[in-house]
Symmetry: C2
């Protein structure tokens, strides 16, 4: 017997037939003797409709009221799934965020989970009752509904899995798992049976849409075994686990790309202590997320060039902030939004030399110019011209021996 | 300064424009210096959609899950109205049933209000904040959402008005008030400025759709002044008040009719103590609501005829129950579903003789046969053949001097 937390996204519960399909999957787990808690998102389209209403009625809306409105989507699905399960003879009931309670801070629409009440849920699961939980929502100290913001449903499922000490957290989605790269670009891309938290984290932050970064980070911190799998097939998915669990480590597990990056270079910045801090504090205050940061030595040492990337949407705002700043001196500001970030990811590269060299040689052989390089322990990222995206991804996928049939 | 509870039904909040219209009406009250709590229903159509989903996913659904799903409708509207009010510069926030809390018993989908937490609401109203309350919902002892069933929104508004000692409870709907009779039948029908609780109760139970019986009974018990008015015009509506408040009492205030009645007569029932009890206990156990009951003396005294009315929908079931019963003896069972109940209502008839005589003479003059007569202190009801409905209502409206321009 295992204790399992299952989570189904909006497309998996898009209509009544799919909700019944979800109920049938849950029943399989209970028939196998497992204890189950199920998280559900809102039916696909519902959240968009609710958000649209809120924004139409006032662009400057109260986030607490936004949360009250938007959380209704998951409330509806949780009740419907509980009924569908009961209809199949599976004892079940729904819990809303405030009923569990799923305590969060007061940062409405982007709340952080602080504490989860698990006594009742564990008792009910032990009694053989499927606990259907409305994802994405919680309750703040002042007794108001909060929502967790982007990725909140995955995160709430993983958080509950950690809190109830679940053996596995199955995230059902519309893809079959995590692939070595985007199958739309490389048809030979292969589904990975297992991937480490660290690799998944890099992939997620690079735009592999299967799991949100926050949920992966939480799974890693609490050692929750996460499985990504499809609610439309019966195939096993990809297990996201600790490195120790993966016996045969690949040097490189995947090739990822992120298209909506823009590169900003401050040329001739006065090289004095605190200058990087000044620049990035300004951007952070303007709510701009910075991704890669590269600062290089220059010949004379008095001045330096500082390059970083932001999302394309934030580019204009970032330029304005830096041009208006009176505590940052530079000779010129160059931007390039026509770039893509290509990353090679793998925990195995820690113990293997030559991974970076292979990347650079492969790109050079195809005549692709590398504008910027940045590396972490398990990742090498480069910025290249956007039109080379597919060519680069395919070449690297082959070069690292990832091509399947 | 007054303290006012306002309530808007589904058609009044059917879309964003109408929600803004509601917000404007609320603003008028706060601009006039009044303290306001507003109850909202779900947007027209939303509740129907949610109920349909629940019923489709399982005809035998758990009422607790039904309530979880269906209460989402009012949740959405309450958040949207709070935002619309804030957008107009009116301080406002939403409260859901469980946040107030609106404590009910555990009779899900038809819950009864037991206690309302008013401290916070009163404090907020005194601070000038409009309290937007999701109608129709509450919370049970076991921390689950309940809904109040038919008429629940009106009832929750009146209950809150009583609890916070409001000066008035304004029920906004799509008609302009209470009329002397159905204007579709009698174009000369007049809107009443005032009506007593007792009269309203008789009218409501007779199918005048403007207020639900439960809410009128509650208003009467707690002395809540209720106003029925339209959210689409600026005219004053009808005040439902205590008899003392009406100086110039009409002998007859209105003519009501109920079309979906069916008459059942048990002929030759053995006349012994407890027989009526046996018959109506059987029907009550079968969940059949009985309206009029008429038992008459017969010549020999050993046998009697017992007539009563049920709704047309329940007729077949009632017949079956009585024919199958082994503790009720009768010679034959006659039914007639081709009847209408016509009622003349007015608190003034207590002190006026001849009201009944006028009714019988008016009907006789038109050649209408009266099948059954039943009276209460402020009402005379008759059953007649259904095809005479309009003729009878018009003739009575004229006979009691109710015709307007």
């Amino acid at each position: 017997m295992s204790r399992i937390v299952m989570k189904f996204g909006g497309t998996s519960v898009a209509d009544l037939d799919r909700i019944r399909n979800v109920a049938a999957r849950v029943k399989k787990e209970t028939d196998a003797g497992n204890q189950v808690a199920v998280f559900v998102s809102a039916m696909a389209g519902t959240t968009d409709q609710l958000v649209k209403w809120v924004e139409e009625i006032s662009p400057m809306h109260d986030a607490r009221e936004y949360d009250t409105v938007v959380s209704a989507g998951e409330q509806i699905t949780s009740g419907l799934l509980a009924i569908a399960l009961q209809d199949m003879g599976v004892p079940a009931r729904s819990w809303l965020g405030w009923q569990i309670p799923f305590k969060t801070n007061q940062l409405h629409s982007a709340a952080r989970i602080e504490e989860i009440g698990t006594d009742e849920l564990i008792r009910r699961m032990e009694d053989g009752i499927v606990c259907v939980v409305a994802g994405f929502q919680g309750i703040s100290d002042d007794n108001r509904i909060t929502t967790l913001g982007r990725g909140g449903s995955d995160t709430s499922a993983v958080a509950l899995a950690a809190a109830v000490n679940a053996d596995r957290c199955d995230i059902y989605t519309d893809v079959e798992g995590v692939y070595t790269t985007d199958p739309r670009i490389v048809p030979q891309a292969q589904k990975l049976d297992k991937i480490t938290y660290e690799e998944m984290l890099e992939m997620a932050s690079l735009g592999a849409k299967v799991l949100q970064t926050r949920s992966v980070a939480m799974a890693m911190n609490h050692g929750v075994r996460v499985q990504v799998l499809s609610s439309f097939t019966d195939k096993p998915g990809t297990l996201v686990v600790d490195e120790d669990e993966i016996v045969e480590k690949q040097v490189v597990s995947g090739i990822a790309y992120a298209k909506n990056e823009a590169q900003v270079t401050l040329v001739g910045v006065i090289n004095k202590p605190g200058i990087a801090s000044d620049v990035f504090t300004l951007l952070a205050d303007g709510n701009i997320n910075v991704d890669m940061i590269i600062q290089n030595e220059t010949e004379d040492g008095r001045k330096t060039d500082l390059t970083f990337t932001v999302t394309e949407n934030d580019l204009e705002k970032a330029e304005k902030i830096l041009n208006d700043a009176d505590n940052v001196e530079f000779s010129s500001l160059m931007t390039d939004s026509n770039v893509v970030k290509i990353s090679v990811i793998g925990v195995g590269m820690r113990s293997h030399a030559g991974v970076a060299a292979t990347m650079f040689k492969t790109l050079a052989d195809k005549g692709i110019n590398i504008q910027v390089i940045s590396t972490s322990e398990i990742k090498i990222s480069v910025l290249i011209e956007a039109e080379y995206t597919e060519l680069a991804v395919r070449a690297l996928h082959t070069a690292y021996g990832l091509d399947g049939e």
